[in-house]
């Protein structure tokens, strides 16, 4: 058992090699120097001075991670330009009813009415929590000039149908299996809902659904109905 060389770290002498193997001395010294640099770098960063010591150790990775973000997010950035916003006309669609695929509905069937269009899926928790609240919203507004329409985006319709049979809501759900209508509406989140006025123009884009959102929506929908637009 030959101790080749030793370095000190924090007052303790560290034996460089506990086993007599050639070449280990050089590795050892490299590691001790690396350890020393890392320690001094950390010391500097903790002391609030130049953080270069710490960062230089992680720099290649930080650069890599930043590159990742830009490379893969770039295309998404471009796509985001197509997002639907208030004032724009709501894209037209014609889809089959989830519970009865012989029935088809189109957005223009509701022209002259204020429409609350809700995109949901059976795998999306907030979407499901929102549904009874939307049903309440529909009933409390209770106007012939207002209609709620939902678009389901499940790939597996069985689950969506099963869910609807258990939670009875008084509005229809249409099927957008391919996601084409979702794409035309430029959804940024699930759930997403849109308030569309009588002329087919979007007046509100609502993303997500949290506690209390139904009050905000009720106020907006009433305002749109009352405005006559």
């Amino acid at each position: 058992m030959v101790i080749r060389q030793s370095e000190t770290m924090n007052g303790l002498t560290l034996p460089c090699s506990a086993q007599d193997q050639p070449g280990q001395g050089a590795d050892c010294r490299f590691l001790f120097n690396l350890g020393k640099r890392a320690f001094h770098g950390l010391k500097k960063s903790v002391g609030g001075k130049a953080r270069i010591g710490f960062l230089s150790g992680a720099r290649p990775l930080m650069l890599g991670l930043t590159l990742v973000c830009f490379l893969v997010g770039g295309s998404a950035l471009v796509r985001a330009d197509g997002a639907l916003s208030p004032g724009m006309p709501a894209p037209e669609f014609e889809l089959a009813n989830l519970m009865d695929d012989t029935q088809r509905r189109a957005l223009k069937d509701y022209s002259g009415q204020v429409v609350y269009l809700d995109f949901w899926a059976s795998w999306c928790g907030p979407c499901l929590v929102a549904m009874p609240k939307i049903e309440t919203l529909r009933q409390t507004i209770g106007s012939d000039e207002f209609v709620v329409l939902a678009i389901n985006v499940d790939r597996n319709l069985k689950k969506a149908r099963k869910f609807l049979t258990k939670i009875a809501v008084g509005y229809d759900s249409l099927v957008d299996e391919q996601g084409r209508v979702s794409a035309s509406y430029g959804l940024n989140a699930m759930p997403s809902s849109f308030v569309i006025n009588r002329s087919g123009v979007v007046t509100k884009v609502h993303e997500g659904f949290r506690d209390g959102d139904e009050d905000e929506l009720r106020a907006h929908i009433k305002a749109v109905i009352d405005s006559g637009a």
């Binding site: 034996p15 506990a18 050892c28 890392a38 950390l42 903790v46 990742v68 893969v72 998404a76 928790g125």
Partner: protein
């Protein structure tokens, strides 16, 4: 309003996922209570490799509890508690054996101890980002640890990319038992500062990748006070690089999880960890699947196969098997059964370690290397 509409919608879901992906900064939708109980049992030490002490090694029974819930519109919390009851002997030291390796000196009477830990987290959510604070406490009769942590998450590009940053600080206090009797350290403290950053990227509708980097600095009394001769540097800087991949397959509605970690520290330990698991039946009531883990580490710079009394007290040394060159393979099976809002799970894992499994070569095998089995049972209720 019909009576059907009054049933909580989430409780009606059976096999589907119940909330948006957890890697995003979104507020969770439902409350979840989970419990777990497990038994960990190490294999006995080999009589031929023990010169003194009990052969029966550790047995640990663990009970865990966790509650997670959204609070109002913008907040969420989680509360965790765990309790461990430990018994069995552990290595005190190693003496030189005739073949150049070591023989164990085990603790005489069985250790009988328990540990209790509590962890609380409170998170504030905004559109696309969240900030949380965690506080934790863990206590045994001879060891107390208090920790505090901050974590931040932010989504980019329609939640395709999520950046997560976290920092934590822990302050530990040790008061080893029978300190005067065995001339041990009477009181010591340890501080741990940690920082972790990761990027989660969705690659396709069926796959995602997560890359992370972590750095931890430990200072204070790092030597093991229960070992006969264990002298470690008072500072240890550890770094980790992690890569995790998830892939979903329509075949059997299964998913593959692969996690890799590279660890390196100022003790000159370098370790690779590769863990994989496969779960089948994601969209059915019963899910089950195998898991496999491979681990390999190289020894600390001051590791020695047996305790050195010819070296001065100012020279670092440790014959702790956890700082030796070794590798380990563990394999197991997991199963889960979902019934509406309740889910029960069972898991078995077997761990085998040895110097032969290691990527680096070593002349000696530490007699203290463990093999163990873990069996656990769990249940979860969402409401």
């Amino acid at each position: 309003m019909t009576s059907k509409a009054q049933i909580g919608p989430l409780a009606l879901l059976s096999a589907a996922a119940l909330s948006l992906p957890a890697f995003s900064a979104s507020q969770p939708t439902e409350r979840v209570v989970s419990v777990n109980t497990s038994v960990y049992q190490e294999g006995d030490a080999k009589a031929a490799e023990v010169v003194f002490g009990d052969l029966q090694r550790f047995r640990v029974k663990t009970n865990q509890f966790n509650l997670s819930a959204p609070i109002g519109r913008d907040w969420s919390m989680s509360l965790g508690y765990d309790n461990e009851a430990m018994s069995g002997a552990s290595p005190w030291g190693t003496v030189a054996a005739s073949d150049g390796s070591g023989d164990l000196i085990m603790s005489g009477a069985s250790i009988d101890d328990s540990r209790n830990g509590v962890d609380v987290n409170l998170t504030r959510h905004w559109r696309g980002q969240s900030l949380g604070i965690s506080v934790g406490y863990s206590g045994e009769h001879d060891y107390h640890s208090r920790s505090v942590g901050l974590n931040y998450e932010r989504d980019f590009f329609k939640q395709n990319t999520t950046l997560a940053l976290s920092a934590s600080y822990a302050s530990d206090e040790l008061t080893p038992t029978d300190a005067q009797l065995f001339q041990r350290l009477e009181k010591g403290s340890k501080h741990t500062r940690s920082f972790y950053a990761s990027v989660n990227q969705l690659l396709s509708p069926v796959s995602m990748l997560n890359l992370g980097f972590g750095i931890t600095k430990r200072t204070g009394e790092l030597s093991d006070p229960y070992k006969l001769r264990d002298i470690r540097p008072g500072k240890r800087v550890e770094r980790t690089l992690t890569a995790s991949y998830r892939r979903y397959f329509d075949w059997q509605t299964s998913s593959l999880a692969v996690n890799y970690r590279y660890f390196w520290d100022s003790y000159s330990v370098g370790a690779h960890t590769l863990a994989m698991s496969w779960m089948l039946g994601e969209e059915t009531a019963l899910q089950w699947g195998p898991m496999l883990r491979y681990y390999s580490q190289s020894e600390a710079a001051f590791y020695t196969p047996f305790d050195r009394y010819d070296q001065p007290d100012t020279m670092a040394q440790s014959s702790d098997f956890r700082l030796s060159t070794f590798g380990a393979v563990s394999y197991g099976l997991k199963a889960r059964y979902r019934m509406n809002a309740v889910q029960v799970s069972m898991q078995y894992e077997r761990y085998d370690s040895g110097s032969g499994y290691a990527l680096s070569s070593t002349k000696t095998t530490h007699p203290g290397l463990v093999d163990f089995d873990v069996v656990s049972l769990g249940a979860e209720y969402r409401f």
